[in-house]
Symmetry: C2
Subunit: 191 residues, 2 copies
């Protein structure tokens, strides 16, 4: 689904989404989450509340969609010329962003208003796509790469699990150790 | 905090918690989550709504507390006489329970009404305590055990991450492979 998000058709539907999303982002910054209501958002976005209810169901689902958009990577991972550097750098940045106050708030919003799990799936797909780019580059250089699902289990899952359930002691050294352990002791890998 | 939960003083506070929790469990089964309100729960529990608001803040925080109680292990892990069997059996049961419909609902509730993260921390502590018991037994037998935090990263985190973000293909074989990879390629372990 993340691919669809990258497409920006100029139709009304896309314009409504863009104006409602930016209204939510503005109001989150101006008045905070507790003061957000669908009518307030509709007024700022210059749409009717029923347009928002029809499209998003309720405020939680709208906030989830906005959060997933904010969690979408806006660029490809940096290319440092080797797998270990690329994956380490990406993991450090990923943890830094996701463990930040705004990162945690977006992860929570993404999960909360997500009855069918599709937004959580998009968050996971974003990380998998970034790692897949890093692995494809490495393969192009003739480097061996771990299994992608194994990297999700060994690098992404521990960071996201600890952010949500066990946040003490999360730092760049932790992200680096996860990558080192994956590359030096890959196990059978993945699912 | 899970230890405190194991203590059941007979005071009023404990009686109120017990009656409100059981009222929520009954009503979840009878009328479903969407029909739950604090007044309805208060009536069933024979307390005033203000008692619930004073103690839990709002419905989401009450549901979070009830969910964490439901996620608390009611027994120690089975003892099969060796580390690999004990950890594999525990991981298979953990995934089976947490990935079930009710398990996912409790995990969501636990996270959603948890502004300070303490309930999420209790969920994580429950798993760590069970694994710690398995490791203590193994050490008593003279077996080498991995680092506890490493086991959280390599076994618990991937299962919980996939339940929340990437649920396809979760089965007992997946739980077994996570344990096999931890015991056969432990890496540097933990945080």
């Amino acid at each position: 689904m993340s691919r669809k998000q990258l497409v920006r058709p100029g139709g009304r539907s896309a314009r409504v989404q863009a104006s409602v999303h930016s209204a939510v982002r503005e109001l989150l910054a101006e008045v905070g989450r507790d003061a957000l209501t669908v009518p307030v958002i509709a007024q700022r976005a210059d749409v009717t509340p029923s347009t928002i209810y029809r499209r998003w169901g309720d405020l939680a689902e709208l906030l989830s969609d906005v959060a997933v958009e904010r969690l979408r990577p806006d660029s490809e991972p940096e290319d440092h010329g080797d797998l270990r550097s690329d994956l380490t750098d990406w993991a450090e940045q990923f943890l830094d962003e996701m463990a930040s106050g705004s990162g945690r708030a977006y992860i929570r919003d993404a999960l909360l208003g997500d009855p069918d799990g599709s937004n959580a799936g998009r968050c996971s797909a974003y990380a998998a796509e970034q790692i897949d780019i890093i692995f494809a580059r490495a393969t192009g250089r003739g480097e061996n790469t771990p299994d992608l699902e194994g990297a999700m289990d060994r690098v992404v899952a521990p960071m996201m699990y600890r952010i949500l359930f066990r946040p003490a002691g999360l730092d760049a050294a932790y992200a680096r150790r996860l990558v080192t352990d994956l590359l030096d002791a890959p196990g059978t890998g993945g699912r």
